[in-house]
């Protein structure tokens, strides 16, 4: 009988600590699948963020480094420069990549570092208890925007992917979503593209993944997926940005 599905070498066979309905587990698996398919597990170095995914290295079966909050792309820049033959990627949330680490993000992109960035946008700070993120939607209630995000007080959801796309050093940016199995498959294709770009020395590649956080959206897992489709994707349209 032909074997059409199995476990992944790049992912340990363990339970994750993520909440029910969280998107991190799916995103971790997409990366693991791609790493296996490209046969790069033994030369991959991941940089884990500060945020819910800080212990991603407990799930991935390859070399990893933590980075201080927001500094993943500075850390990854150096790892890749020291070891250009390795495949180096960062895995960062919206607070990490688009608030505290905006400077590191913009300059790594502008230098055209040959890196892969997996950017998890769930419009909220998860690990610290659901505070407003740079990507929180207008009107979205969080523990630090109690009446919903208001443009007068809080500014607008930050479209960092579009901002980065104007930089000549950036090779590839795509926004994908985990709201349905079809979209997950597209997300995997984008993740694979971003890793292949690095293998082919094409430069800075970023995949923004719209990902559910049922706990701090105060929605059920199913409602969370609907909210991505009906609300988030209107603010953050899917597709190839660059």
């Amino acid at each position: 009988m032909e074997k059409i599905f199995g476990s992944f070498k790049a992912l340990y066979d363990v339970s994750t600590h993520y909440c029910p309905g969280c998107g991190h587990g799916i995103a971790h698996r997409l990366i693991a699948e791609v790493v296996d398919e490209l046969g790069i597990r033994e030369k991959t170095i991941g940089v884990a963020p500060v945020g819910c995914a800080v212990v991603a290295y407990d799930y991935w079966n390859f070399d990893c480094s933590e980075a201080a909050h927001g500094r993943a792309l500075a850390v990854a820049t150096a790892i890749k420069r020291v070891r250009p033959q390795n495949i180096v990627f960062t895995y960062q949330g919206d607070g990490d990549l688009a608030a505290i680490g905006t400077n590191e993000t913009i300059h790594a992109a502008n230098r055209g570092e040959n890196l892969t960035v997996i950017f998890i946008n769930n419009a909220v700070y998860g690990m610290t208890g659901g505070q407003m993120a740079p990507t929180t939607l207008l009107g979205q209630k969080t523990s630090t925007s109690l009446d919903g995000r208001q443009r007068e007080k809080h500014g607008y959801p930050l479209k960092i992917s579009e901002m980065l796309s104007i930089l000549p050093g950036v090779h590839y940016i795509e926004r994908v979503s985990l709201e349905s199995p079809q979209e997950v498959l597209k997300a995997k294709r984008a993740v694979k593209q971003a890793f292949e770009n690095q293998i082919n020395n094409l430069g800075f590649s970023l995949v923004e993944i719209l990902s559910p956080c049922p706990t701090y959206w105060e929605l059920s897992p199913k409602e969370s997926l609907d909210w991505i489709r009906d609300c988030m994707q209107k603010e953050f349209p899917l597709g190839r940005i660059k």
């Binding site: 150096a78 020291v82 390795n86």
Partner: protein
């Protein structure tokens, strides 16, 4: 290698010492008075096959050093006081992840933006850890351009040996001053295997570089391990220089550039027949205890600094109330002069 002498500044001597020690990664951000160092690295690092990056900030630079070190490179960054304040986050993570790294602080006046005049007012920050958490950097304070070169080479060895951040603490005078330097290529410990480095997990289990210990009791366990390491360093690595301790009635204690001015004051007083001695701590952490164990129990100490009394506290902790400790210091651009020191010592004798 021929015994070659060259005339260079302290900043350049540190850069050259680093390159000769096998430093293959440098990231920095411009700030006065250490700009000769970053410029030297920009010019010579690529020539030796190393990586030079002008970072977007001090934060990025120190985190690049973290990444480069995690990947196994001998890595260094340099800055001056306000920039080193910014680096403290990264230094804490480097200490927590037990990564070797060399950080240079060519001190200028503070607090805040201060000025660009030489100072020694970052002693507390350097010797007490500086960032959050229970940790230390080894701190070395060169007193000459030659020593800046030599101690930089030693720094890389100590950093690797103990997997610890090492700080070279100089001041603006040392950074800018030019002196002849005898080149000697040591590369102590360069190329030693680093089984913990990130290089891809081919043929082994994945390596993880981290400073996060969430499980109950795990961080305490780790911190105790750090403390054990610090205890070994306290025993094995103190460095100092001293003169005339045997018969001294007053002992002058100073480090770095200040120690040179203090030394010429001591020479003058000795010529006049005065019983004065001199201690120059070279390692500021671990702070050398040994030279303070003098026979004369009535000895007095005079601590002289380009600050308002920071190393003074370590001297007081060391003598622990057994002897009198006095202080002379200026900061914010002022440097205690030879005459001032002599006048103060004459009063104490």
């Amino acid at each position: 290698m021929p015994k070659k002498k060259i005339l260079i500044s302290g900043n350049e001597a540190i850069a050259e010492g680093a390159i000769q020690a096998g430093c293959s990664f440098y990231a920095g951000y411009p700030i006065t008075p250490q700009n000769e160092l970053i410029a030297y690295m920009a010019k010579y690092m690529p020539k030796t096959g190393g990586v030079f990056i002008q970072a977007e900030s001090e934060l990025a630079a120190i985190n690049m050093v973290y990444g480069a070190s995690a990947a196994g490179a001998r890595a260094m960054t340099s800055s001056s006081s306000p920039g080193v304040s910014l680096k403290q986050e990264g230094i804490s993570y480097i200490a927590g992840a037990q990564l070797p790294a060399v950080i240079v602080n060519i001190m200028r006046g503070g607090p805040g933006l201060g000025n660009i005049a030489p100072a020694q007012s970052d002693y507390f920050q350097a010797t007490r850890g500086g960032g959050h958490g229970d940790y230390h950097c080894i701190v070395l304070a060169p007193g000459s351009v030659q020593e800046a070169y030599d101690l930089t080479q030693l720094s890389f060895d100590l950093a690797d040996k103990y997997r610890i951040p090492v700080m070279i603490l100089g001041d603006g005078i040392l950074g800018q001053m030019m002196e002849p330097v005898q080149l000697s290529i040591k590369k102590i410990g360069a190329g030693n295997p680093k089984p913990w480095e990130l290089s891809g997990c081919k043929g082994r289990k994945p390596n993880i570089i981290k400073s996060f210990f969430l499980r109950e009791g795990a961080l305490e366990e780790f911190n105790l391990k750090l403390q054990k390491k610090y205890e070994i360093i306290r025993t094995k690595e103190p460095l100092y220089e001293s003169l005339f301790l045997n018969d001294a009635k007053v002992i002058l204690v100073a480090y770095g550039t200040m120690a040179r001015i203090a030394k010429s004051a001591i020479s003058q007083l000795r010529l006049a027949g005065k019983k004065v001695g001199w201690i120059r701590p070279i390692s500021l952490w671990p702070f050398p205890q040994e030279p303070f164990c003098v026979k004369n129990k009535k000895v007095k100490y005079l601590v002289v600094e380009m600050s308002y009394g920071q190393m003074l506290e370590d001297v007081k902790l060391t003598v622990n109330g057994r002897q009198q400790v006095e202080f002379l210091g200026r900061s914010g651009g002022g440097v205690p002069g030879e005459e001032e020191i002599i006048k103060k010592i004459r009063k104490m004798l």
